[in-house]
Amino acid sequence: MAGKEKGIITVRVYRCNPLAGTPGRYDTYRIESHDPITVLMVLRYIFKNLDPTLAFRDYECYQGVCMSCQMMVKGKRVRACSTMVEPGEEFTVEPLPGHPLIKDLVVSL
């Protein structure tokens, strides 16, 4: 589609802090990458370079088995550590439904 940029991954991330009582919103971030990377790596990039307030579980079992990085990516329930996205992609990330929301992408597990 027109508008897809080389070397850029665009992600809309659900942001919500229930403690602050404010409604949820979506923040859009642009990640520089020329290679495919995992969604977990996308979130780390955001945390390090763009927005230190982004809350996500930065745990890693290295094997895709612990399930602590589960979230909704492109509307599907996936493990962020095991899901690759391509440069030029635009997609949405949301917390797992059905679990109490702690903040942004962090839910009670």
């Binding site: 802090n17 403690l19 602050a20 990377i37 995992t38 977990l40 790596m41 945390f47 390090k48 230190p52 307030t53 982004l54 809350a55 996500f56 579980r57 930065d58 745990y59 890693e60 079992c61 290295y62 094997q63 895709g64 088995v65 612990c66 399930m67 602590s68 550590c81 095991s82 690759m84 702690i102 903040k103 942004d104 962090v106 009670s108 597990l109």
Partner: protein, 560 residues
Amino acid sequence: MPATIYETDILIIGAGAAGAAAAIEAGQAGVRVLVVAKGPMGKTGITPLGFTGYTAVTGLDPEDSAELHFRDTVVAGRYLSDQNLVEVMTAGGGDSARRLLQYGVKFQEENGALLLRQAPGMSRPRMLRIPAGGKHLIEVLKKEVASYPNVQLMPDLAVSDLLQSGRRVVGALSLDMKTGQLLAIHARATILATGGKGQLWPYTDCPPESTGDGLFLAYGAGAELVDLEQELFYPTVVIYPEHVRGLEISYETFLQPGAKILNRHGEDIAPVGDVLPTRDQLANLIFREIKEGRASERGGVWIDLRAAPPSLKENVRTFLPAYKRLKHFGIEITEETLEVAPGAHTSLGGLRIDPDTRTSLAGLFAAGETTGSVHGANRLAGQAWLACITFGFRAGKSAALFVKENEAHPPDLNHVRMAEEELRAFLTRKNGRFRPYQVLQQIKSLMWEYIGCIRNAAMMKKGLVRLEAMREEVEADLKVDPTAGFNWEWAQALQVRSLLAVAEMLTRAALFREESRGTHFREDFPEQDDINWLAHTMIRKEGKQMMVSKIPVVLHRMHP
């Protein structure tokens, strides 16, 4: 707002195999128990990642015995293990395995009997296999813990300090990650089951929370820590690509004739011979390539199985634990090279305990990877979990007994208030230059450059100077995002605090031990020196100083 107070009888910090085992025993004793973990229960720490081995003398092999197991363990540990602890662990192995079976752990069977495997250093096959791995083990334990209504669980809680009344440990100050609020836990007995410190190093198969918190906490309270220089590196841990970095590639499976390990010049450095090298042997071999400038651009070496015989390739595809994960990302290890380096795998040193898991501080117990002197200078496969389960159960039991025999002591309130203020100040410094994740990277680079697998005095002394400078920088210049609520930067800031202290402890211990023994290798003292160094290095805080000294090893049953 001052911290909320939570009262309980036993506080268990850490919910991996050791913490869960302790919770089961404490639960059975009928006292009030609170188990806390830095993340979700059953999805935090290294237990869910553990592969499959559980080594114990079950009585199924008539030619095996607790005596033999004891001997193998002490020899593997280069006589640095406390033999009282090894005795307890090896004598009780079969019982602990039976208990796990009873709770529902599925061990691998062959022809209707439990399968026993033999790994390097074992004189008989005695390693049981849990095919569904650590994930299954922790799920079973978690279910068992949940059956006790007197055991409360609090996930997403990071302990920042131990609370004391005099020297006695009476609980902990913690950060509730869910809310960003502080919680002061008052407990008659505290069990540390916080795992290891693999995150000190740039390459590790230990998860992000392996930051030696228990060591930092106990050190701050004045406890004794032993043999911190002993860190087992797994020789072949993936370093690239990023999405599989940290994955352990089992050399026990792939390192057969036809497999190559290539350095930057394309030379095959894989050892030849009938006997597989031990982990430390292979780790040191690869580390030497790296240190002597023959590593890849990224600082590793390549596993190359492209020219391996079809039978080896088939073996790898069937039995290599990492195969499926690599394949998920389209990496076919039998047809392409894979970049690896030695990664920190297990901490062998830690808190000093007696066979009842008591530390040198009243009210403080410890079990699992956070303790020292069980495995000595090297450990056998399948014995990490054996130690966690054995001493986890014992810690729960001992702590419950302590509770029944001791009154509650409130913590020194002035100290609590000061600890709270310091913690809040630490977590809300907006104006520095370095964020915690940057300091973490710096610590890792420092450790790999100055300490690593092959050590010498000159480099370690430089490392200490750099660490000291880093600590001052962090004091002055750490920048932490102050947003309240679930704040990952706060979790990382606490990790930085732990790792800086632990880095210094490890380095001082490594400098102090002037010999090579097991996983501690010094090129300036390459021989094992049983005359001067058959002893533990011991670290303890005295006033503001970090003191290092030598203490004797318990050797009542076997001498070298």
